[in-house]
C-alpha cells in the first residue's frame, strides 16, 4: 500500500472512528471506571451488588424473562420461518415484507398498541366478554403476562428473519434425497432439514435473548412497578437514588452478559452470515 493510499484510508475512517470512539467506547470506559475505581481499583461496588436483595431479584427476573422470551420466539417462530422458506417465491417476498414491517416501527409504539389492546376497556377484554368467556374485565395490563406477550411479538420478526436466512440456504435436493432413500416426510425433516437449520435458529434465539436482556420500555409500560427489569433499575438508580456507581455496576453486569452471549452467537451462527 502506498503512503498516499494510507493517508486516504485514514481520512475516510476518521469521522466514524471519532464518533464511535468518543461517544460509544469512551462512555463505556466511563462506566467501567465509575464501577471499578474509587479512585483506586476496588471491588466494593460488587460487594454492594451482592448484598442488595433488590438487584439480585431484578437480575434473576431479567435473565429469566429474556430466556423465556427467546425460547418462545424460537418455538413459535421456527414453524413460521419454515413455512415461509418453503412457500412459492412470489408470496414469500410479500409475507417477508409483512413480517418485517413491525420491525421498523419503534418499540415504544408497538408497546403502546398492547396497552390499548390489553386495557380494561381494551379490545381483548371486549372480545373475551363478548364471547362469554369472562364476566368482567380481566387485569392484563401491568402483569408479567403482558410483558411476555408483547416482547415475544416485538422480537419474533428477528427470530423469523435469522431462521429464514439459514433455511433458504439449505439445498432442497437433500431432503428429496432422504425421501427417495425411504425416509418419511417427518423423518426427512427431523434428520436432514432440522439439524441443518439449527445453527441459524439458535443464532436467532440468541439475538432475541440479548435484545430481551436490555428491554426497558415494554416492562416499564406493561409490567408496572412489580415487573421492573435491569434496564429500569439502572434508570431508577440514575434518576431517583442518584447512585451512579451502583447504576454503572448494573450496566457492567448487563454488558458482560451481552458479550458472553455474543461469543456464544459467534460459535453457533452459520459462518457466512457474520461476514456477509
Amino acid at each position: 500500500m502506498t503512503r498516499r493510499r494510507s493517508v486516504q484510508l485514514a481520512l475516510m475512517l476518521a469521522p466514524a472512528v471519532a464518533l464511535i470512539g468518543l461517544l460509544f467506547l469512551y462512555p463505556l470506559f466511563g462506566i467501567l471506571k465509575l464501577s471499578l475505581f474509587n479512585p483506586a481499583f476496588t471491588l466494593e461496588s460488587f460487594d454492594k451488588l451482592r448484598s442488595s436483595p433488590v438487584a439480585a431479584l431484578v437480575m434473576q427476573r431479567t435473565f429469566l424473562l429474556a430466556l423465556t422470551v427467546a425460547v418462545l420466539c424460537f418455538v413459535l417462530g421456527y414453524p413460521i420461518a419454515y413455512f415461509l422458506a418453503t412457500m412459492r417465491p412470489r408470496w414469500r417476498a410479500f409475507f417477508l415484507y409483512l413480517i418485517l414491517l413491525p420491525f421498523w416501527i419503534s418499540v415504544l409504539i408497538r408497546t403502546y398498541t398492547w396497552m390499548v389492546l390489553l386495557g380494561r376497556e381494551g379490545l381483548v377484554n371486549g372480545a373475551l366478554h363478548g364471547l362469554g368467556i369472562t364476566d368482567g374485565p380481566v387485569q392484563m395490563l401491568f402483569t408479567g403476562f403482558a410483558v411476555h406477550l408483547a416482547m415475544v411479538q416485538i422480537l419474533m420478526p428477528i427470530m423469523i428473519l435469522t431462521c429464514f436466512a439459514a433455511m433458504v440456504e439449505i439445498d432442497p435436493q437433500l431432503v428429496k434425497a432422504a425421501r427417495t432413500l425411504g425416509a418419511s416426510p417427518w423423518k426427512a425433516f427431523a434428520t436432514v432439514f432440522f439439524p441443518m437449520s439449527l445453527g441459524g435458529a439458535a443464532a436467532g434465539a440468541i439475538i432475541c435473548f440479548i435484545l430481551g436482556l436490555g428491554f426497558y420500555v415494554t416492562p416499564a409500560l406493561l409490567g408496572g412497578r412489580r415487573n421492573i427489569m435491569l434496564a429500569n433499575l439502572i434508570d431508577f438508580e440514575v434518576h431517583q437514588t442518584l447512585n451512579w456507581s451502583f447504576a454503572s455496576v448494573l450496566a457492567l453486569v448487563l454488558l458482560a452478559a451481552t458479550l458472553v452471549l455474543l461469543g456464544l452467537f459467534r460459535l453457533v451462527a452459520p459462518e457466512r452470515r457474520l461476514h456477509g
Binding site: Y112, G214, T258
Partner: protein, 260 residues
C-alpha cells in the same frame, strides 16, 4: 394435511405480528375521551388535538431536526468508513466493522448511562447538536451494514472499465460506483433517520429538558392515557410503513437493474 395446519398456524402468527399495529389506526379515529374498538363515532378530534397542542408540534419538529442531523452525520461517516473497510486492506478491518455495528446489539441503556455521565461532565446536556451526535452513534450501524453489503456485491470490473476508458479513480468512483450505491444510500438514510426519530432511551438520559416526539409520547404514557397518543402513534405507523415501502421499492428496482 400437515401443510394445511402449518398454513393456518402461519396465518395466525403473521396476524399476531401485524394486526396490533393495524388496529391502532381505527382506534385513533374515535370521538370519545376513551379508547374503544370499534369507535362509536369517527372523528379526527385527536389529530386536531395533536396539531393544536404546541408541545406535540414542538416535539415533532425537534425530532425531525435531530433526525435529519443524525442522518447526515451517520451517512457521511458511515459511508466513508464502509468504503474504506471494504476496499482497503489494513489490519483490524473486521474489528472496526464489528465496533461500528455494535451499537445495534448493545442494550441502549448502557450507552445512555455512559453518555449521560460524559455529557454532564462536558456540559452537553440540553444541547441539540450533542443529541444529534448521540443519535448518529445509534444510526451509523445501519449505514455501515447496508453500504458495505452493497459494495461487496458490486462488480468492480465496471469501475475498472471506467479507469481503462481514462477516468481517474475518484471520477470512476463517483460516476460508476455511486450511482450503483444510490438506492442503498437512500435506504441507509431512511433507516438511519428512523433510528434517530424513534430513539427514546438515550434521549431520556441525555436530553435534559429537550422533548423529542418519543419522549413526549413517553411522558404522556407514564402519566395518563389520552387518545392524542393514539393519533400520534397512527401517524408514526403510517409514516414508517410508507418509508419502508419506498426503500423496499428502490431496493428491488436495483436488484432488477444489476441482477442481484
Amino acid at each position: 394435511m400437515t401443510r394445511v395446519l402449518l398454513g393456518i398456524y402461519f396465518a395466525i402468527g403473521v396476524a399476531f405480528l401485524v394486526l396490533p399495529l393495524a388496529l391502532v389506526v381505527p382506534i385513533s379515529l374515535t370521538d370519545s375521551q376513551f379508547l374503544q374498538f370499534p369507535p362509536q363515532r369517527l372523528s379526527l378530534r385527536w389529530y386536531r388535538e395533536f396539531f393544536v397542542d404546541e408541545s406535540w408540534v414542538r416535539a415533532t419538529l425537534l425530532s425531525l431536526q435531530v433526525g435529519l442531523g443524525a442522518t447526515a452525520v451517520a451517512l457521511v461517516a458511515g459511508t466513508l468508513a464502509a468504503v474504506a473497510i471494504v476496499r482497503g486492506s489494513f489490519p483490524g478491518r473486521r474489528l472496526l466493522h464489528a465496533l461500528l455495528v455494535a451499537p445495534l446489539i448493545l442494550p441502549s441503556v448502557i450507552v445512555a448511562l455512559g453518555l449521560f455521565i460524559l455529557f454532564l461532565r462536558w456540559k452537553w446536556v440540553d444541547s441539540v447538536p450533542a443529541l444529534i451526535f448521540a443519535h448518529a452513534v445509534g444510526a451509523i450501524p445501519y449505514v455501515v451494514l447496508i453500504v458495505s453489503a452493497s459494495l461487496r456485491s458490486f462488480d468492480t470490473t465496471l469501475e475498472r472499465a471506467a479507469r481503462v476508458l481514462g477516468a481517474g479513480p475518484l471520477r470512476a468512483f463517483l460516476n460508476v460506483t455511486v450511482p450503483y450505491l444510490g438506492p442503498s444510500l437512500f435506504a441507509a438514510s431512511l433507516l438511519a433517520f428512523f433510528a434517530s426519530f424513534d430513539e427514546l432511551i438515550v434521549t431520556l438520559f441525555v436530553s435534559g429538558g429537550l422533548q423529542t416526539l418519543p419522549v413526549r409520547i413517553w411522558t404522556d404514557l407514564t402519566l395518563r392515557l389520552d387518545p392524542t397518543v393514539a393519533a400520534a402513534a397512527s401517524m408514526l405507523i403510517v409514516v414508517s410503513v410508507a418509508g419502508m415501502s419506498i426503500a423496499e421499492y428502490f431496493r428491488q428496482r436495483n436488484v432488477r437493474r444489476y441482477g442481484h
